[in-house]
């Protein structure tokens, strides 16, 4: 039976489960969910005014709000920081489109 079930996460055609069945329930949590991204959003923390619009609009909840202090080059101090969780970001670009101060840049993925 073991030979039909493959390795936990397969590396090649030799060890994928028979007929690509999934014998490990709930395994989606362990798998990459961002493989088709072609552009990744990069937040310019200096420009960012912490308006939270990207956090609001992100359809995947991939923008995370962190309790991390940040001081800009002009000396302005913020208590929070917004970052992108690249495990979940699909690269849709909605955040960059909505950002009122153009602090988010879409950078091509290099593979």
């Amino acid at each position: 039976m073991e030979r039909y079930l493959g390795r936990k996460y397969p590396q090649g055609y030799e060890d994928i489960p028979l007929a690509a069945i999934v014998p490990w329930p709930g395994n989606t949590a362990e798998l990459p969910k961002h493989e088709w991204r072609t552009f990744r959003p990069v937040i310019n923390q200096d420009k960012c005014v912490r308006c939270r619009l990207c956090w609001t609009y992100c359809p995947d909840g991939a923008i995370v709000e962190l309790d991390k202090e940040y001081v800009t080059s002009t000396g302005r101090k913020y208590k929070i920081t917004f970052e992108v969780n690249y495990d979940y970001c699909k690269g849709c670009g909605i955040c960059a489109n909505e950002c009122p101060v153009k602090a988010i840049e879409m950078v091509p993925e290099e593979r």
Partner: protein, 418 residues
């Protein structure tokens, strides 16, 4: 396996001869399903497969067969129900023909790529239009790329024997692929011949029902997902696994035939060679036509022509090595089939397989492609003798005929072919 040490057929050991009855090919397929003790059958009746569906229903109704018979509303559902039943670990059976097979088509790929050991009887029949219920191989040839193991039967006994072997092959842990056994529509499905039945206990000793847990099946206690999405990152690998399973399957097909011969005395191979030892010209044929070609070969031998024939029994996976070995020393090869590959370089599907098998091994010789018997058109021994004469001409000239010869088609010039 315990059977590997047995040398005598079971018949002699038990001291009782097997029952011999008169049966049609359709009944033979149903009897084989009965003797293999299937658990689930989902069949939608379609001419000329109807006798199989009728017989299965009868066997279930009168208690001879303890199986779940699912009354489905179409062939698409028949195959879907069969795949689903197989996915729970049941031994399954279905049957179809022609347009029904085409309606099943998308499920055929699913059966094979989900690696479900489905066994199907296919009463071969022409495809529309015009509507035609008679025999040719248009339907069988349409499923040759679906990844099924395909076995062609020449007579009623072979239908039965091939079906029994199909269960051995399909459910073998090293194969796990669906198998289709063909019987020529009407020519075999409705024609009565002598049939030697094998008792159920002997069939089950040959192709035993395995414990449910020997392969991944649907089980509420051990949940698995069957039929998942395979994105660009893993689809390719799953398909390669399927290809490799088909490449490995000849070993098991051969083993099934060898054990079958040991137990029941009838021998089967990937191909059957008929008078090929000293043959100068050979015809490749399949299905019920092979019997007719044998008669033609006999007639030609009386005339002093060294003719031979190869019958292809296992069509997928294609037994290329065996065929090349058998054809190596002949002067010309003819290929005879009841199907058309529209628009192909040479419009006959089997021809393409035979030529490819020879060509990739660097063997070139005069070849002629014959199409005959489309839509149930009668074919006679003298016509096949004429084909052999055409083949002898090709051998003498040392040149292939570059176009398919459509034999027996009516034309205003009164020629035997166009």
């Amino acid at each position: 396996m315990a059977s590997a040490v047995e040398t005598k057929p079971v018949e002699k050991e038990l001291g009782k001869p097997h029952e011999r009855i008169a049966a049609t090919g359709g009944e033979a397929a149903a009897y084989a399903a009965r003797d293999a003790d299937i658990d689930v059958a989902a069949i939608y009746p379609i001419t000329p497969q109807t006798p199989i569906a009728e017989k299965i229903a009868e066997l279930v109704a009168n208690g001879e067969l303890d199986a779940e018979l699912i009354h489905v509303e179409s062939e698409h559902s028949a195959m879907s129900a069969t795949i689903a039943a197989a996915a729970t670990g049941a031994r399954v059976f279905t049957a179809t023909a022609s347009q029904g097979l085409e309606l099943m088509h998308e499920m055929l790929y699913i059966a094979s790529s989900l690696r479900q050991p489905v066994v199907m009887a296919l009463a071969t029949r022409a495809l529309s239009a015009p509507i035609n219920i008679w025999n040719d191989y248009a339907d069988a040839m349409s499923m040759r790329d679906t990844g099924w193991i395909m076995i062609f039967s020449e007579n009623v006994q072979e239908v039965y024997d091939n079906m029994i072997q199909a269960y051995y092959i399909a459910e073998h842990p090293d194969v796990l692929l669906p198998v289709v056994v063909t019987l020529d529509g009407f020519i075999l499905s409705h024609t009565m011949e002598a049939l030697e039945l094998i008792p159920r206990d002997e069939v089950l000793a040959y192709a035993p029902k395995r414990p449910r847990s020997y392969r991944p099946v649907l089980d509420p206690d051990k949940p698995i997902s069957i039929g998942v999405l395979g994105g660009p990152n893993w689809y390719y690998e799953a398909k390669i696994q399927h290809v490799l399973a088909l490449r490995e399957s000849p070993r098991i097909i051969e083993e099934a035939a060898r054990l079958f011969e040991k137990r029941f005395g009838r021998s089967y191979g990937f191909i059957e060679k008929y008078m090929m030892d000293d043959a100068e010209v050979a015809m490749v044929a399949m299905g019920a036509t092979a019997s007719l070609v044998k008669a033609a070969v006999k007639r030609l031998r009386k005339e002093g022509v060294k003719a031979g024939m190869i019958k292809i029994r296992v069509y997928r996976p294609f037994p290329a090595e065996e065929i090349v070995k058998a054809l190596e020393n002949v002067k010309a090869v003819g290929v005879l089939n009841r199907a058309i590959a529209y628009g192909a370089p040479v419009e006959e599907p089997l021809f393409q397989d035979v030529v490819t098998a020879l060509a990739v091994r660097g063997i070139m010789k005069p070849m002629v492609s014959f199409v005959h018997g489309m839509g149930g058109r009668d074919i006679f021994v003298r016509e096949i003798v004429d084909m052999y004469k055409k083949l002898l001409d090709a051998a003498r000239e040392g040149k292939s005929v570059t176009r398919t010869l459509f034999w027996g088609v009516k034309n205003l010039e009164g020629k035997p072919y166009i």
